[in-house]
């Protein structure tokens, strides 16, 4: 008897708790468009896709799966391994029936923060504000067979120390730094330049730099990290940028650059074209370089990484900028990208060159 009462009380408490949660979900603040959007983004942050989808007014052809792919990414893109960190919203226009809100979204990813500006259309649905979710633009690409040769290099090393004296394994590829420039930017010293693979085999390259003071002592050491395309095919050129925070050029006598290059296996595919490149101003008036990425072959690129090299009128590298694209590249489908350009340099830029590095989940 006593046990039955306890069980009843526990069940009652559980039901009350569930009811409270359900009530809380149901009563997410949707009284104003901005509050509704914030509630929606809270669900996105928690990756509660069902709840987030329930707060939308889906457009034609949008189902939950399409909604999740649109917002949470797909095809192994950077978005699929990121989470919403912060948002800033700003009402652009509002009426009693609908509103336009611009949201500055900051996603946290393994490669650093990813910033996204997204305009949301809010609609008043019987007193509840919802996020109008249109269908994602469909690709105009026509399905066709694309040749993929899977050209690749594998490295076969000689075996044991029993080999005859004087014989050797294949040498690392010849890499050459073809330009270098040291500048000061916002309290940091930045080393910029370009490296080329002059050989006929692919190689992995990393650039390390050591700053030396007037007595020849080392005062700082950094590497190019991800501001370089590490795997270079024959005759491929990559920019590199090495940042030394809180340093001044005046305290530096010289810079010692040491490239590390090794022979690595590599594949020639996929080839990514960079179309319609142009320098423009964004909605905030900042200089950006934008364009579209298109995979020329039949493979998918999971995480594209764009590296832009900017030159002055003498051909000197004056800045290297990079940016990750949060969408995967599917064959023949254009995906837009933007890369920041320092506003103080925009007037000096006479030429630029874009290279695309990429990370694939099945890359070996």
């Amino acid at each position: 008897m006593k046990l039955g009462a306890i069980v009843m009380i526990v069940i009652l408490l559980l039901l009350m708790g569930a009811g409270t949660v359900q009530q809380a979900t149901k009563h997410a603040n949707t009284n104003t468009p901005e509050a509704a959007l914030r509630s929606f983004l809270d669900q996105v942050r928690a990756k509660h896709w069902d709840e987030a989808y329930s707060m939308t007014q889906p457009g034609a052809g949008v189902d939950k799966d399409a909604f999740v792919k649109d917002l949470g990414g797909n095809n192994g893109s950077l978005k699929t391994i990121s989470s919403l960190q912060n948002e800033n919203t700003k009402i652009l226009r509002q009426s009693s029936n609908d509103a336009d809100i611009r949201a500055e979204l900051q996603w946290s990813t393994a490669v650093g923060a990813l910033h996204e500006t997204r305009d949301f259309k809010m609609v008043n649905d019987d007193g509840e504000w919802r996020v109008a979710w249109p269908a994602a633009p469909k690709s105009q690409a026509v399905a066709k067979a694309l040749p993929t040769t899977y050209l690749r290099w594998d490295v076969v090393q000689r075996g044991s120390a029993k080999d005859e004296w004087g014989v050797q394994n294949v040498e690392p590829p010849r890499m050459r730094i073809i330009s270098m420039n040291a500048i000061e930017n916002q309290g940091d010293v930045v080393i910029l330049g370009e490296v080329v693979n002059e050989d006929t085999v692919p190689g992995f390259v990393a650039i390390n730099a050591i700053l030396l003071d007037k007595d020849g002592n080392s005062i700082a050491e950094e590497s190019s990290f991800d501001k370089i395309s590490h795997t270079l095919l024959p005759k491929e050129i990559s920019p590199f940028r090495i940042d030394f925070p809180n340093r001044k050029l005046a305290e530096i006598k010289s810079v010692r650059i040491s490239p590390t290059n090794i022979l690595v296996p590599a594949a020639a595919d996929p080839v990514v074209g960079v179309m319609n490149q142009r320098i423009e101003k964004d909605q905030d008036g900042k200089s950006i370089l934008r364009g579209d990425l298109v995979v020329q072959g039949g493979q998918t690129v999971n995480i594209p990484h764009v590296l832009a090299t900017f030159y002055d009128r003498t051909g000197k590298v004056i800045w290297v900028s990079d940016g990750y694209v949060d969408r995967a590249l599917l064959p023949q489908q254009a995906v837009p990208f933007t890369v920041n350009l320092r506003d103080d340099l925009a007037g000096q830029v006479q030429n630029y060159r874009i290279t695309v590095n990429y990370y694939n989940s099945n890359r070996s």
Partner: protein
């Protein structure tokens, strides 16, 4: 007759004995590696012969007057040897030298393993001349270096070794392929392979044709200035500059000797092609070339 006093007699005996020991050990001044050496002794009675040298320590019991033969294997290392004969409390010692034998082995170091064609002084070859027991043959010896790709005549470079080492700096040939780099002395030789690869592209040319709403650009077979096809995988950059449409670029890879890419079809666009630091031709799309 005057009899010598005992003290004088003892001095004479010591001198005689010393003189006798100096004659007791007969060694050649030099011996050649592999040939062995004979060491002669004089006198009578038992004795012990010790031989020390580079990496060598030998001991032989003998009767004075015997001749001891050491085989080539027992004195395999070139250098200074010491023979010590000990008989009772008396010892005597002689030095002799073993010099390297005839060349039997070449240690050959060739660098680099991969080199562009038609480049001066890019291949280096160093040979250490050794005898059968790995002793450095320091006597001047003619070494013949040969470098050639299969199917073409090998270039010959005779060099005389100096202090056991001979070396050359050679130009790469004009034909790509696995070059056989050989060093030889008589019938003794050592071989290395130097991969000669195509150099930078030469006379890079492309053509363009419409492909739906795009332009398909394709190079002619890409070769270096010696006529060797550049290896597959080499990057060729196609660019299109089209005014308001901005610029489009594709870093294509050479496959089966040619590179191709697809660019947007913008009337009036200028198409160009480059590989590394080599520029190719330009095409104006919608106008004449």
């Amino acid at each position: 007759m005057k009899i010598l006093n005992p003290r004088t007699l003892l001095s004479i005996l010591v001198l005689c004995c010393s003189s006798a020991f100096a004659q007791e050990l007969k060694v050649p001044q030099t011996a050649v590696d592999g040939d062995g050496v004979n060491i002669g002794t004089t006198g009578s009675g038992s004795a012990t012969l010790y031989i020390t040298g580079p990496g060598t320590a030998l001991k032989r019991e003998l009767r004075r007057g015997d001749t001891i033969s050491l085989t080539g294997d027992e004195i395999a290392y070139a250098g200074r040897y010491t023979a010590v004969l000990k008989s009772g409390s008396e010892t005597t010692a002689q030095n002799f030298y073993v010099v390297a034998g005839k060349p039997a082995k070449l240690n050959f170091m060739a660098r680099p393993s991969r080199v562009p064609v038609a480049q001066p002084n890019v291949i280096s070859g160093v040979v250490f001349v050794l005898d059968r027991d790995d002793n450095l043959v320091t006597a001047p010896t003619p070494v013949n270096f040969q470098l050639g790709v299969n199917g073409s005549a090998a270039a010959s470079h005779p060099v005389t070794s100096k202090n056991g080492v001979a070396w050359i700096k050679a130009a790469s040939g004009k034909q790509e392929g696995a070059a056989q780099f050989t060093a030889s002395i008589g019938d003794v030789s050592a071989k290395r392979v130097v991969q000669q690869v195509a150099s930078d592209p030469c006379n890079l040319r492309m053509k363009a044709q419409p492909a739906g709403s795009s332009i398909e650009v394709q190079t002619e077979p890409i070769k270096d200035c010696s006529g060797n096809p550049v290896p597959d995988g080499t990057i060729v950059t196609f660019s299109e500059t089209a005014g308001a449409h901005g610029r489009s670029t594709v870093d294509a890879r050479v496959k089966h000797g040619i590179a191709r890419a697809t660019l947007p079809a913008n009337p009036g666009a200028t198409l160009s092609v480059a590989s590394g630091v080599v520029l190719g031709n330009e095409i104006r799309w919608g106008g004449g070339q």
